[in-house]
């Protein structure tokens, strides 16, 4: 008996509708700090995604392959939807007295500054700079696919009674990340991105993402008026507890994935399951509500 696994899917954006009216800002029961650690994604990911969209749109004229181009267009559509979808959750934070603006404006300034700088370059330099950014995005997309795979395979969220709308956002987003996991890497390779660049960009992305994420988490914890001073601190003990409870991916998940990415024969299609991603997208309440 052989199996069926779709090797290539024509990507398209799915419309989604999330109803945030019943979601508490501390959406993991008894773990407000963990909720905020995840809430960073509503601040950080839309900024990153809108930057991806700009970089990929600017890269379109350099693409010679019809399939790569079509995948990139589908990717752009999906990333636009992701950025929109997190806006509702961002409004939820604002309604609870947390102003995410100082953080988002910094991230925006950083990323917009980078692409704007590229746009002012002479054509030859510009393509090189776009490729540098695509290398970073491909490395980042490896992590989003790993995280997406984790979200799709983490029954712990349901067991502890996580808010169903937020779990759906995590898994819907995660499933589309798994579905389009090859696009950024294929574009990187198509534009003649080489192995040394793959390694360097990944080594640059790890500290940058870690720094951005932890800064965001600390900012949210400090800004939440309902937390006690003790709750405002991110301690190693808390991380150990979240890892033990299966609520946060740990080094056992990240490290092997990291070594995969640093291998010469890496391709995103070797990891994660398109079947699982599409199966979730067919059951996601937000995706079903979004179908007109």
């Amino acid at each position: 008996m052989t199996a069926i696994e779709p090797t290539s899917v024509a990507l398209h954006a799915r419309d989604v509708q999330f109803d945030w009216s019943k979601t508490p800002v501390h959406w993991v029961p008894d773990e407000p700090e963990l909720a905020h650690f995840y809430n960073v994604m509503h601040l950080l990911l839309p900024e990153l995604e809108l930057w991806f969209v700009q970089v990929f749109t600017d890269a379109l004229p350099y693409i010679t392959d019809a399939k790569v181009r079509e995948d990139v267009l589908g990717f752009i559509g999906q990333e636009n939807m992701h950025a929109n979808a997190h806006q509702g959750a961002l409004d939820l934070l604002a309604a609870n007295g947390i102003d995410p603006e100082p953080y988002t404006s910094q991230v925006h300034h950083l990323l917009q500054g980078w692409i704007d700088r590229t746009r002012k370059m002479k054509p030859k330099r510009r393509k090189q700079s776009l490729l540098n950014q695509i290398a970073v995005i491909a490395a980042g997309e490896h992590f989003t696919a790993v995280l997406g795979d984790f979200a799709l395979n983490s029954p712990a969220f349901d067991e502890v009674g996580t808010d169903p709308v937020m779990s759906d956002l995590l898994r819907w987003h995660g499933a589309e990340e798994v579905e389009h996991r090859s696009v950024a890497f294929d574009l990187f390779r198509h534009l003649d991105g080489r192995y040394p660049m793959q390694v360097v960009s990944m080594l640059a992305v790890i500290p940058a993402l870690w720094m951005l994420w932890h800064r965001g988490a600390r900012m949210l914890l400090e800004a939440d008026p309902t937390l006690t001073p003790k709750q405002r601190k991110l301690t190693l003990r808390k991380f150990r507890r979240w890892h033990r409870r299966g609520l946060l991916p740990n080094a056992k998940i990240y490290l092997p994935q990291l070594t995969h990415y640093l291998k010469g024969d890496y391709h995103p299609s070797h990891y994660g399951s398109t079947t699982q991603a599409i199966a979730y997208l067919a059951t996601s309440p937000a995706a079903k509500a979004g179908q007109q």
Partner: protein, 361 residues
């Protein structure tokens, strides 16, 4: 470079440049310079902007067969007998007809047949002419076909319920074959006006007669959504392709019961919802056309501009994107970026927000 460092204040609101941010920005510039230097050592030059390579396959019609009333199947193969690109169940190709019209057809042959793609076409008189033209093509006619792409992917499951209506059997047929090959627990409910109008009956029965339920309207009446889904176990994924009333009935039933995840492909576009009539001026010819409340801009434009490109007719493939020269747009696609929406629209689903648009066609 200086403006890169004059950013927003630090996170605690202190009136100075955020140090962390400045160092990250310096790191970005350093990263770029380092990578550029490494890359320069690796290769002589970076290619610039380029044209898209035309990757369509040049095939010929190897065989034409009548499959049912008004339905023919065409087997397309390489003129030099070469193997064709591989495909998977759910794949379709864009076929460019001799008149220049471009249409999408599901591949419905066997994925193991490496030397031919089979498509099937039902003739619709009074349609836009694509199907009528397809029916005039004879063996030996050269034809341009895109590489297969999959917008209706079959995923790996233990159980499936397949629902097909009429010519909607085309993407489902290879799925049924695949499900039987992996030993999955599957069932097919196949509906149509009458048995004589339903293509591939014999082929389906040969795959596994006990799992195929044929429901012809002239024998059992029109099947309701409930009847189509009645034997499905809760949680069984449903793959459905057929006319709009059938898909709507299945969706309505599933919305009510919530029992089954649904995958579906429309082979005709969704109806226009809450549309108002408006006027479109075609800037290149200067002509003005009227778009009805239940008509899409694309359908109104095509009789005037037969060469207008389009593909999915559902607002996601972007083939029919055009520049808007004047007028407010009610964007209904899921594929244009915010920046594109400022100057462009998709003809297949988007409409005028007011009563007039001027388009660059």
């Amino acid at each position: 470079m200086r403006e890169l460092f004059s950013g927003p204040p630090d996170l605690r609101g202190r009136p100075r440049q955020d140090r962390m941010l400045s160092s990250v920005m310096a790191a970005v510039v350093g990263y770029e310079n380092a990578l550029t230097a490494v890359d320069r050592m690796l290769r002589a030059k970076v290619p610039g902007e380029v044209d898209l390579v035309d990757e369509d396959l040049r095939l010929v019609i190897a065989e034409v067969r009548v499959e049912a009333e008004d339905v023919v199947s065409l087997r397309l193969s390489s003129p030099d007998g070469e193997a064709l690109p591989r495909w998977q169940p759910g794949c379709h190709v864009d076929v460019t007809l001799p008149s220049g019209k471009r249409r999408q057809y599901s591949l419905n042959g066997d994925v193991r047949d490496r030397y031919g793609y089979r498509i099937a076409v039902r003739r619709i008189d009074g349609g836009l002419g694509g199907s009528v033209e397809m029916h005039t093509l004879t063996e030996g006619t050269p034809i341009r076909v895109s590489r297969p792409r999959n917008a209706f992917a079959l995923i790996n499951l233990e159980k499936y319920l397949f629902l097909a209506g009429g010519i909607g059997i085309t993407p489902i047929l290879p799925m049924v074959r695949a499900a039987e090959r992996i030993g999955a627990d599957w069932k097919l409910v196949y509906t149509g006006r009458s048995r004589s109008s339903m293509p591939f009956l014999r082929e389906l029965l040969d795959i596994n007669e006990s799992k195929v339920d044929i429901r012809a309207d002239d024998e059992v009446g029109m099947s309701t959504g409930r009847e189509l889904l009645e034997h499905s176990a809760p949680g069984t994924h449903v793959y459905c392709c057929g006319p709009i009333p059938m898909i709507d009935a299945v969706r309505a039933e599933i919305r009510e019961t919530g029992r089954n995840p649904l995958h579906y492909e429309r082979f005709s576009p969704a109806p226009v919802l809450n549309g108002k009539p408006f006027e479109v001026q075609l800037a290149r010819s200067g002509r003005t056309i009227q778009v009805g409340a239940e008509q899409t801009v694309l359908d109104a434009v095509l009789p005037e501009v037969p060469a207008q490109q389009y593909s999915c007719k559902q607002g996601f493939c972007r083939t029919c994107k055009v520049r808007v020269l004047a007028g407010e747009v009610d964007h209904r696609d899921g594929s244009l970026t915010a920046r594109e929406r400022e100057t462009e629209m998709t003809l297949c689903v988007s409409r005028a927000a007011g009563d007039r648009l001027v388009l660059d066609i």
